[in-house]
Symmetry: C2
Subunit: 385 residues, 2 copies
């Protein structure tokens, strides 16, 4: 299938990390497929329930708060952030089972952010299925997605009931990353058209690349960094290790976003079904890393033509196809890939000396590189096959 | 003006609490009207800035993250939550100036929730001006509104840098209330049509009143309770006082929502300009407390007629006007007011013995009752004048 379509199938090419039963069990506890009346206290503080009709309330909250998130979780997702954090916990000698509620909360918050993103982008598909706001209506989906940000609080109290200072440090690392992610999203929503215009006119892409890199780092990097830092903190590892783990996670998350930009050029499938048309970002006039790296690589008139064709956001299919070919031919995707690899390797080289000299450390590295580069490798294999 | 329109003017009838210069100053620091390049670290973690164009970035973040929130703050708002929390801090011997960043963060988060609510409700006016999503576009407004929830984290670190356990307790009280508010919003978005239908058919409004009360408590009560509890915690007050303060705040917030339902029947003006048409809730087929209290007070056929007219959400103006008259004639607004007063008084009687026997305590009570009942009092004065 891959060889025929030239598309990346995320489900088959990247190892799916749903092989952590303790995390799946915690997802089921936080966001059960069926909310029982005796589980209401998770959602409604106990002393507020009064004489409420518990079965009726459970049914209403299951539909309005749980289902939009649960269905999006069930639709797929690599769970690579919690999987990588779990590996970090394990190799530092921590207890993954005990940390599982926090890992599940990370995935829940990530899912919530996807639901909110889809509202902001008016995206109708997510993971190959109708987006939550299409199924449940915008208000309910948006409210449930926002609420998912706050799952960590319960997870921390369950996991570390007697460690208030550690709960506080973990929570602060997470909230700082959430704030950064919203700053990145603000830049992403605005787009980088002025910077692109400047780069096209002058041939100088430095300011453009700065802002694309910053946006990727803020939007996708720091939250992955927080996930690994939180893992380190939970094991009682020292500040130097936690910081280096956080930096490596940030590199992984940022590099993942870079390779995602590259993967978009070919489109994405999941279990053989397309979830995005090829070059969705070009269709949406989005200035991504491969486009930025075309500056200085495409002849100026051709770059100008590509940009003019896509910038309005309503280019016909054949113009987008020409733009995509130009981007690929000039080698920009390879430059992106090299940047992602270098980012990972530099960061890994700083972290490596601080980790145990054990096979688990090498497996951690392999898994992290795999998440970022699997899509590209699949594509390379695909082109050559 | 009031005497002519029969409407409540929130700005003139309720004491506006913008008389806390320390809170206004903190609002200016968190959400400055102009973001200077040396203030970027508040939004972008310092080590992410790299070679970024700081003035350009400051300008972009001012437009995309700050302006939607700042403009909504500037459009008005009573600031009654931080004002009441400030009074609680002062009468327990705490330092209001020191607590000011936390008070400002409460108002910022509240403002963020209004921006998100307006997206969910597709409301085009807020505080008499175009809503943030109308001015800035939905994606930018929604993202900025969500991000405003996370201001407390910075405020806590600024206010209590050396008190990690206390930061944690304050943060947890707040996040639990935020979760509850989203649960309340979920119920509010669904509406209570099934419960209303049951009450209209059977004459038994107990389940309906239960769910309306629970929704008000979750959506508006507990976050006001958290504000007062956070004030108590910051002064080092004991758990009994903090809990009773939190309960009183919850009563104030819930009662405020009840009187808001009543006020809606007459419409709301601000500085003489209407911000909502009369009976907006009836137009929107929203089952509010006054409507719920019509069950058993209106003759069954008339109640059925009111409900049938409004339930579709597209009733003509004259039918809404008849429904409004029926609700007012049967005395339901007065029952709501009595419920709000009793809620406040019961809760106050439990808190009062735990507070200092001082004039400040009486002023605190007066201010709290005033926030809840001012609109109604103004209306009563209005009708009689």
């Amino acid at each position: 299938m891959l060889a025929n379509t030239g598309r990346i199938d995320h489900e088959s090419s990247a190892a799916v990390a749903r092989d952590l039963p303790c995390v799946e069990a915690e997802l089921d506890r936080f966001y059960p497929r069926r909310l029982e009346p005796d589980q209401l206290e998770w959602w409604v503080p106990g002393d507020s329930l009064g004489s409420a009709d518990r079965p009726g309330l459970a049914e209403r909250l299951e539909r309005s708060i749980i289902a939009p998130v649960r269905e999006t979780i069930d639709a797929g997702g690599h769970r690579w952030r919690p999987a990588l954090a779990a590996q970090a916990v394990a190799l530092l000698g921590g207890d993954v089972e005990r940390f599982a509620p926090i890992l599940a909360a990370m995935e829940i918050a990530h899912t919530g952010s996807l639901i909110v993103d889809d509202v902001e982008d008016e995206a109708v598909l997510r993971r190959g299925r109708p987006a939550a706001h299409v199924v449940h209506g915008m208000p309910t989906a948006l409210n449930a997605g926002t609420n998912a940000y706050f799952a960590l609080d319960i997870a921390l109290r369950r996991t570390l009931p007697d460690h208030a200072p550690l709960r506080g440090r973990i929570s602060e690392a997470y909230v700082e990353a959430l704030r950064a992610a919203h700053t990145g999203q603000a830049l992403d929503i605005q787009g980088h058209h002025a910077e692109m215009e400047h780069a096209v006119s002058t041939g100088d892409s430095s300011a453009l690349l700065d802002v694309v890199r910053l946006t990727h780092r803020l939007k996708s990097g720091l939250i992955a960094g927080a996930a690994l830092e939180m893992g380190g903190l939970s094991t009682g590892a020292g500040p130097e290790v936690c910081r280096a783990l956080g930096d490596f996670g940030t590199a992984v998350g940022t590099a993942y976003q870079i390779t995602d930009d590259v993967a978009d050029l070919s489109g994405v499938t999941r279990r053989g079904k397309p979830t995005k048309r090829p070059a969705e970002d070009l269709h949406n006039a989005k200035v991504t890393m491969p486009l930025a790296h075309c500056v200085g690589r495409l002849p100026a008139p051709r770059l100008r033509a590509v940009w003019e064709a896509m910038r309005s956001g309503d280019a016909p299919q054949h113009e987008i196809e020409l733009a995509r070919e130009a981007i690929e031919e000039c080698g920009a995707p390879g430059v992106c890939e090299a940047e992602a690899r270098t980012m990972l390797e530099d960061s890994w080289n700083r972290l490596r000396p601080l980790l145990p000299d054990a096979p688990a450390t090498e497996r951690f590295r392999e898994r992290a590189f795999h998440y970022v580069l699997a899509g590209l490798d699949a594509r390379a294999a695909d082109s050559s096959g």
